[in-house]
Symmetry: C2
Subunit: 385 residues, 2 copies
Amino acid sequence: MLNFEYQNPVHIIFGRDTIARLNDLIDAEKKVMVVYGGGSIKRNGVYDQVVKALAGRSVVEFGGIEPNPQFATCMKAVKQAQESGVDFLLAVGGGSVLDATKFIAAAMVYEGADPWDILRTHGQEVTSAIPMGTVLTLPATGSEMNANSVISRAETEEKLHFTSSAVYPEFSIMDPQTIASLPENQIRNGIVDAFVHVVEQSITYEVNTPLQDRQAMAVLATLVQVAPDLMAGSKDYDLLANFMWAATHALNGVISCGVVEDWSIHMIGHELTAFYGVAHAESLAIVLPGVWERCFEKKKEKLANLAEALWGVTSGSVDDKAQAAIEKTEAFFHAIKMPTRLGDYGVKAADLDKLKARFNERGLTYGEQGDLGPEACGEIVAGRL
Amino acid sequence: MLNFEYQNPVHIIFGRDTIARLNDLIDAEKKVMVVYGGGSIKRNGVYDQVVKALAGRSVVEFGGIEPNPQFATCMKAVKQAQESGVDFLLAVGGGSVLDATKFIAAAMVYEGADPWDILRTHGQEVTSAIPMGTVLTLPATGSEMNANSVISRAETEEKLHFTSSAVYPEFSIMDPQTIASLPENQIRNGIVDAFVHVVEQSITYEVNTPLQDRQAMAVLATLVQVAPDLMAGSKDYDLLANFMWAATHALNGVISCGVVEDWSIHMIGHELTAFYGVAHAESLAIVLPGVWERCFEKKKEKLANLAEALWGVTSGSVDDKAQAAIEKTEAFFHAIKMPTRLGDYGVKAADLDKLKARFNERGLTYGEQGDLGPEACGEIVAGRL
């Protein structure tokens, strides 16, 4: 096991009819900005519950956060919040709204010249932020219980992440009833996003962490268990609750304690979203088989474990099982209607030039041992057309 | 899934050579009291590492905390700490030292007339405490990452617990190297204590929590996996690390989120320790089969799951599997040299009168549905002679 540190201060309030708790959770004297997305919270009743819980308080609103939240939009929110004297941010939505709100919280008090540097330095320069809370309405990113945020910038076709303990939500309210109205593609995306979070923290190489390996499999097995009924449209409360809580555990820091991580699927996937507009989860489903095949030798022990523990593969060599893990994972994505090829979105070989140029220009290396260089990243994507 | 809240602010620093981090973790201006037990930390080098890390600071010491820490001893520490102007407590030891330090931290600022009331009200009256940190040297209780404490009082033969968010450690340092010198009986006790913590939070009745069930089994399976090599005396670093981290996860609040809990094994066991002096883990191993047999109908679904997931029992009815779970768990205890009968400690039927009188006098009821009354508790213990 590797040395590690773990601390996660987020106060989770989980269950039925918990949005009313906002009234206790936010100091009465705070000036609150409610940040939300495209308006689904106004259609599903969540907005009304929030308004009711905050009745009589000083509240301003900022709607219109996009999927893959845009830097420019966030900066508009920063300006409005500063002008209004906001000192508490309440994110109401999914990962995009939560991530945007984390960035707004940090940017409001950022002392550097250009807030984009928060992303460019991946949060290293963030020392404080406006306090925030969340009401989660879409299980996927784990943003409700971590200190991560990913922001996009359309004009430069960039999508970058930052992490800072300053942007842990003070609290996150998770009422599974709020996700009953999600459309199928968002459920599918949430399952895949959470699934890939887990494997980035577990399908690497062995450093003798049997508890963490089992904790990772616990999350994956639960996602695979709930997927068919969710995709069939069931709104069973426990089903929704189990999905929601599993997605949180996919990225709240527990399963990564003491293990080797590899975020190359995400890093390459972010570029696909930045250039070709595929949704985050779609990009992950495209890249995953390519990274696993490319890094087969390094990952095959853990892939074989995955095949056994998750997919019930009991026979064959380590190589056979590892290959089966790749095939069965891709088949699982297909079973929940998730494409796994870039060509499924109309992208052609000629379109990859600027992507490859980006990899080369940045010279970044990924992989758990830093051995996926620019050329390898380009080849992985080219193999997923 | 039941509604729940979860928040655990403890900062874990886990790994090799981490005790030196004390210097960063405690503010330089704090007056520190180092609290420890019978002196094993002076023999195994931990004390020297702590002294070195705190060199140049204002430090006082309080040694001599007993297993099943005594109220009278804790009150001596409270007096010394108050007289010395201590404003930070550093617990260095196992669960007894950590639990004692939590009580000292709360008692130092307790405003009621009698600090024993902290225990009598199970922490309801605790609103603040002196800040504390821990250096853990014995995996067992999970006290390093929770807000629980159990204190005993010899003169009244009482052993009571309290819980308060005011006594979460600010940090806990966990260096697996510190547990290499543990004697066999403490390893055995730690395994059983952690094991029973998990089952008190999982072997109840089904409320549709597949993730938490799997997380619980992840901890149990890891404990069962590491037990033989630990008992054989292996000092392999990863083995020690996996034991240590599993024991923390047995009682840090994660696996109890949204599930039905039943702490009857602990509650009955505390009385056995209070009256007959059996160690905490020894009391749990005695009581567990009795509670499971008494509550067979309520617990049999979860017991059958335990039989399948942990003990590999694949055939038979639910009742058969549940019965096998009880037998195989008791056999596991025996395999690690843990007795499971009160008679093994020389206690006889006639000795049970005062225990039964205590149950009757208190009129407490245990069990996940409050259906284990005083009479049932007496019968359970009588069945374990």
